[in-house]
C-alpha cells in the first residue's frame, strides 16, 4: 500500500503528472497535465473549493445566483456549478449543493451598444437554468418601479486636500420626462476619469446583482473572480485607496451584505487554466466590452494593474497564487465591520478618511484657521434631468463617503446625480443596526432628519433599509 502511494506521488519525466502514461498537453505552474487529467483536476478543485466555502455552514440550503457576465471565467464557473449540481449520487442519500441555481446578468448595452447580449443569452440558455437579466440603467429605479429621490452632488470640495473638504449634496425629485438611460449616461459623463467610470460601473453592477439575488430568493451570489482577477483587483483597489474594504472586496466569502453571502469559488484558478478548461470542454464565452477595451496600459488604474500582473506573472509565475494567499490572511478591521456603508459604494466608510487626507495635503495658506474659501451656494448647477420646483437644504455628506469615493467625487463635475440607492443608504444609516457612535451618530441623525421626507416608510412597501448595499 505504502509503495503504491509513494509511486503515486512520483513524477514520470515527460508524462502527465496525474496519470503518468499520457503525453502532457498543458503546463500549469511547472506541472504538466494531459487534457483529460486537466479537466478532471479542474472539476475536483472546484468541488473542493465549494466544500471549503461551506465549511462553516455545511447544511446550508439555499438558492445560488451565478453572476454571469458572459466572459471566460463566469462561463467556466457556470459549467462547473451545473456539473457540481448534477453530480448528486443516486445510490447514497445526498442532496445537491444548492436548492436551485439562477443565472443573473447585467445588460450593459446602454453603456456599450456593442455588448453581445444575444450571444450571452445563448450561452446561458445551454445550461437550461432560469436566466434573469436587468439593464444597468435600472439602477435609477427602485424595486417596485417607484421614483422617490436622487442625490445631486452640488459641490465636491474646493480642491483635493482642502482644509475642510466639502462634499455637499441635495435631494431632488427626478424630472418625470427623463429616462433611466439619460440619467445613467449623465452620471457616467460627470465622472472625471476612466478609472472612476470603471469604479462606478462596478458599484452599480454589484448593487444590481445583489438586488437580483434578493428578488429571486438566493442567499448566495457566486462571483466569477479568477485568481488572476483577484490579484489584479488587489493591486487596483490598493492603488485606489480602498485598503479599508479590500479584505471584504476580494474575500473568498463575505457576509458584509447581510442577507446575501458573496462567494468567489473561481479564485483557485488562474486565467490560463480557465482558457484551457473552456477550450477543452467546449464551453463558449463572449468577449465583453469594457471602458478600456483596446486601450493602452495607461488607460485606467484597473487596466494598468491588469497589465502589471500579467507582466509580473510571466517572469514570476507564483505571483498570482501568492497574492491570493496573502489576501486570505488579511482580515477587515473591527472598525470596518462596524462602520456604516459608504453612500456611493456601499463598502465600509472610514470615519477618519477626510481628516487623514486634510492633514497631509494642504491646499490653502489659511488652512490652519479651518476657513472655507467658497460658499456652496455659489456653484449650484441647474440640471435638466431634475425637477426644478424641488429645493431642499444642502447636506454635508463627507462622513458618509469612504476615502476612495471621496477621490471620485473630487474629480466629478458638479451636478452629478447619483442613483436612488445612495438616498436609501443615507436614510438607512441610523436604522441599519450598524449604528454609529458618539458625535457621528448625532450627525447622522441630523442627516436623517433632513432627508426624512424623501424616505419611504415600511408601510409604503419600500425595500428593507437594512439591506441597502
Amino acid at each position: 500500500m505504502g509503495e503504491t502511494l509513494r509511486r503515486g506521488r512520483e513524477r514520470v519525466p515527460g508524462m502527465c503528472i496525474k496519470c503518468k502514461v499520457t503525453k502532457p498537453s498543458v503546463t500549469i505552474r511547472q506541472s504538466l497535465y494531459c487534457k483529460e487529467c486537466f479537466i478532471k483536476t479542474s472539476i475536483v478543485k472546484f468541488r473542493t473549493g465549494q466544500s471549503r466555502l461551506r465549511k462553516d455552514t455545511p447544511h446550508l440550503q439555499t438558492k445560488a445566483l451565478v453572476a454571469f457576465s458572459g466572459g471566460a471565467t463566469s462561463s467556466a464557473m457556470l459549467k462547473l456549478v451545473v456539473d457540481h449540481q448534477n453530480s448528486v449520487r443516486k445510490d447514497v442519500d445526498s442532496t445537491p449543493a444548492y436548492t436551485g441555481i439562477v443565472i443573473g446578468h447585467i445588460d450593459e448595452t446602454c453603456l456599450f451598444p456593442e455588448a453581445p447580449e444575444e450571444e450571452i443569452r445563448a450561452i446561458s440558455g445551454e445550461s437550461g437554468l432560469l436566466y434573469k437579466t436587468v439593464g444597468v440603467e435600472e439602477v435609477f429605479t427602485l424595486a417596485g418601479g417607484r421614483r422617490t429621490a436622487l442625490i445631486e452632488i452640488v459641490q465636491a470640495s474646493i480642491a483635493p486636500g482642502a482644509e475642510r473638504d466639502q462634499f455637499c449634496a441635495r435631494l431632488v425629485r427626478p424630472a418625470s420626462s427623463a429616462s433611466h438611460k439619460e440619467y445613467l449616461k449623465a452620471l457616467f459623463s460627470s465622472l472625471g476619469s476612466t478609472t472612476d467610470r470603471e469604479a462606478m460601473l462596478d458599484v452599480i453592477k454589484r448593487f444590481l446583482i445583489l438586488q437580483l439575488a434578493r428578488e429571486t430568493g438566493c442567499g448566495v451570489v457566486l462571483m466569477g473572480d479568477s485568481g488572476t482577477r483577484i490579484a489584479t483587483k488587489t493591486v487596483a483597489l490598493t492603488s485606489r485607496g480602498r485598503g479599508f474594504s479590500l479584505p471584504i472586496e476580494v474575500a473568498a466569502k463575505s457576509q458584509w451584505f447581510g442577507d446575501v453571502s458573496v462567494w468567489r469559488p473561481m479564485r483557485d484558478f488562474v486565467a490560463k487554466e480557465i482558457v484551457f478548461f473552456n477550450y477543452w470542454t467546449g464551453q463558449r464565452s463572449a468577449v465583453v466590452p469594457t471602458f478600456t477595451t483596446g486601450e493602452a496600459r495607461l488607460g485606467s488604474i484597473d487596466r494598468l494593474a491588469e497589465a502589471f500582473i500579467a507582466e509580473l506573472d510571466q517572469d514570476f509565475s507564483s505571483t498570482v497564487p501568492t497574492v491570493c494567499r496573502t489576501m486570505q490572511k488579511l482580515e477587515p478591521h473591527d472598525e470596518a465591520l462596524s462602520a456604516l456603508p459608504c453612500l456611493i459604494c456601499g463598502m465600509p466608510a472610514d470615519d477618519n478618511a477626510q481628516a487623514w487626507r486634510n492633514r497631509l495635503t494642504i491646499s490653502s495658506n489659511d488652512a490652519e484657521d479651518g476657513s472655507i474659501r467658497s460658499s456652496p451656494s455659489a456653484t449650484l448647477p441647474e440640471s435638466s434631468l431634475l425637477a426644478s420646483d424641488n429645493t431642499s437644504s444642502l447636506l454635508e455628506i463627507a462622513r458618509a463617503v469612504c476615502y476612495a469615493c471621496q477621490s471620485l467625487l473630487h474629480h466629478a463635475s458638479p451636478g452629478m446625480v447619483l442613483p436612488e440607492f445612495c438616498v436609501e443608504r443615507l436614510g438607512a444609516q441610523d436604522v441599519s443596526g450598524r449604528s454609529a457612535q458618539g458625535t457621528t451618530g448625532a450627525q447622522r441623525e441630523t442627516l436623517r432628519k433632513q432627508i426624512d421626507e424623501f424616505l419611504l416608510k415600511d408601510e409604503d412597501g419600500a425595500c428593507d433599509n437594512s439591506a441597502v448595499y
Binding site: G243, P247, I301
Partner: protein, 378 residues
C-alpha cells in the same frame, strides 16, 4: 498670460503640484511642503524636546532635503532638537566617495555635526570587496543589512535618541506593493509604521513618509540645495524594478495614487496569527534579531568562510564558527550611557558637540578613538 497661484492668488504659479494637481507659486510650495512634514512630525509624535536626532545622510536628494527641512522646522517650531548628520560609507568607489563629499559640504552649509561610519571600519569589508567576493548578484542584501546596523552603531557612538531617514512616500508605497506581491505579511503590517523600534534602544522614523519624491526633487531644485544624484553602481533589484515602474505608470494615470496606496496600507489589517514573532537579541553582537544570530553576523561569517551565499539562503543557526567579531552592542550602549552621564554633568564631549568629519578616528579633531573602535571620546 501667466497663471496665478491657486493658494495665495497673488504670485505667479510656477509649478503644478503632483500631490494635489494645484498650480502654485514657489513660496506657497515651500510653505505647504514644510507644513505637511511638520504635521507628520507632530501627529506621529516623533520627538521630545532635547532629543539628540541623527539625520541619515547619504548626500542624495532625499536626505539633503531632510537635513535642510529638519533644521528649518526645528528653528521655526522650536522643537528643541539637537541635530546631527550621520553617514554610512559603504565603500563603493565612484559612488559613495563622491556623495560623501556632498555630505561634507552640507555639514558646512547647515552647520550640523557629521559622523561617518564605514563598513570597512565596522566589519572589515567594503562593498567593493564584498562584490569582488560574491559577484554582482545579491550584493544588495549585504549592503541593506549592513547599512541598517551601521546606522544604529553610529547613532550609539553619538548617543542619539532618534534617527530620521529620508524614505519618501514613493518608497513607502513601493514597499507596500512589494510586500503584497511577495506575500510578506509581517512586513506588510510593519512597513507603514512611521516609527520603528530600531535596535530597541532608539527610535527610527520617516518624516517624509507622505512627501512625494517628485516634490522633494522640486524642493531641492527650487531651494538650489547641493545634492548628489547618481544611481548606485551595483545592480538594482529586478523585482523592485517592476514595482517601481508600476508606481511611475500609476502616478501618470492618477497622481494621488501614491498617497492612496499609503492610505490603503495603513488600513490593511494583518490577522493576529500571522503577526511577527517577538524579536530577541543576536547572541554574537547583541543586535536586535529574530534568530539566534542576526543577519549581519551570518553574512559576515559567510564572507569570512568564503561561502557568502550560505548567509543569504540558509538560516544562521547552521553556522558554528564565528569569524568576525564586530563590537558588541552592549558595549556601545554602555559607552552611550557614559557619554550621557558626562553630558548631564556638564563635561563637554568634543566628538559630539563640534563638527568632526572623522569622529572616533582621532585624525582631524580633538576626539580620540577606543582601540576597539567603539567610538566615544576620552
Amino acid at each position: 498670460m501667466p497663471r496665478q497661484c491657486d493658494i495665495c492668488q497673488r504670485a505667479r504659479a510656477i509649478i503644478r503640484r503632483p500631490k494635489t494637481g494645484q498650480r502654485i507659486c514657489k513660496e506657497c510650495f515651500f510653505h505647504v511642503f514644510e507644513t505637511e512634514v511638520h504635521h507628520t512630525i507632530v501627529d506621529g509624535r516623533l520627538f521630545s524636546p532635547g532629543d539628540r536626532v541623527g539625520i541619515g545622510a547619504s548626500g542624495g536628494k532625499d536626505s539633503t532635503v531632510l537635513a535642510y527641512v529638519m533644521k528649518t522646522l526645528n528653528e521655526r517650531y522650536s522643537y528643541g532638537l539637537e541635530l546631527f548628520l550621520l553617514s554610512v560609507d559603504e565603500g563603493i568607489a565612484g559612488y559613495r566617495d563622491d556623495s560623501l563629499e556632498t555630505v561634507k559640504r552640507n555639514k558646512e552649509q547647515y552647520g550640523l555635526p557629521l559622523m561617518i561610519v564605514s563598513y570597512e571600519q565596522l566589519y572589515g569589508w567594503s562593498m567593493d570587496s564584498i562584490v569582488e567576493a560574491v559577484g554582482r548578484k545579491n550584493n544588495c542584501t549585504f549592503c541593506g543589512v549592513f547599512r541598517r546596523q551601521a546606522l544604529d552603531r553610529g547613532a550609539l557612538m553619538l548617543d542619539l535618541d532618534h534617527i530620521v531617514t529620508g524614505h519618501n512616500a514613493d518608497d513607502v508605497a513601493e514597499t507596500i506593493l512589494m510586500n503584497l506581491l511577495r506575500g510578506d505579511i509581517p512586513r506588510l503590517g510593519r512597513c507603514t509604521e512611521i516609527t520603528t523600534a530600531g535596535d530597541g534602544y532608539m527610535g527610527r522614523s520617516k518624516p517624509f513618509k507622505y512627501a512625494y519624491e517628485k516634490e522633494i526633487v522640486m524642493y531641492a531644485y527650487l531651494k538650489r540645495l547641493d545634492y548628489f544624484s547618481t544611481e548606485c553602481t551595483y545592480s538594482p533589484n529586478a523585482y523592485r524594478g517592476y514595482a517601481r515602474q508600476f508606481l511611475k505608470d500609476l502616478e501618470s494615470v492618477r497622481p494621488s495614487a501614491i498617497i492612496d496606496i499609503i492610505h490603503s496600507g495603513e488600513a490593511i489589517k494583518v490577522s493576529e496569527e500571522v503577526q511577527a514573532q517577538k524579536p530577541s537579541s543576536c547572541e554574537r553582537c547583541g543586535y536586535i534579531s529574530s534568530n539566534a544570530v542576526c543577519k549581519a553576523c551570518a553574512l559576515l561569517e559567510g564572507l569570512e568562510r568564503g561561502i557568502p551565499k550560505l548567509g543569504i539562503s540558509r538560516s544562521a543557526k547552521h553556522f558554528e564558527r564565528q569569524a568576525v567579531e564586530p563590537v558588541h552592542f552592549e558595549r556601545l550602549r554602555e559607552k552611550a550611557h557614559e557619554m550621557r552621564r558626562r553630558r548631564m554633568c556638564g563635561d563637554s564631549n568634543p566628538c559630539t558637540t563640534t563638527s568632526c568629519d572623522d569622529s572616533c578616528h582621532g585624525t582631524t579633531c580633538a576626539c580620540t578613538t577606543d582601540d576597539d573602535g567603539a567610538g566615544g571620546c576620552h
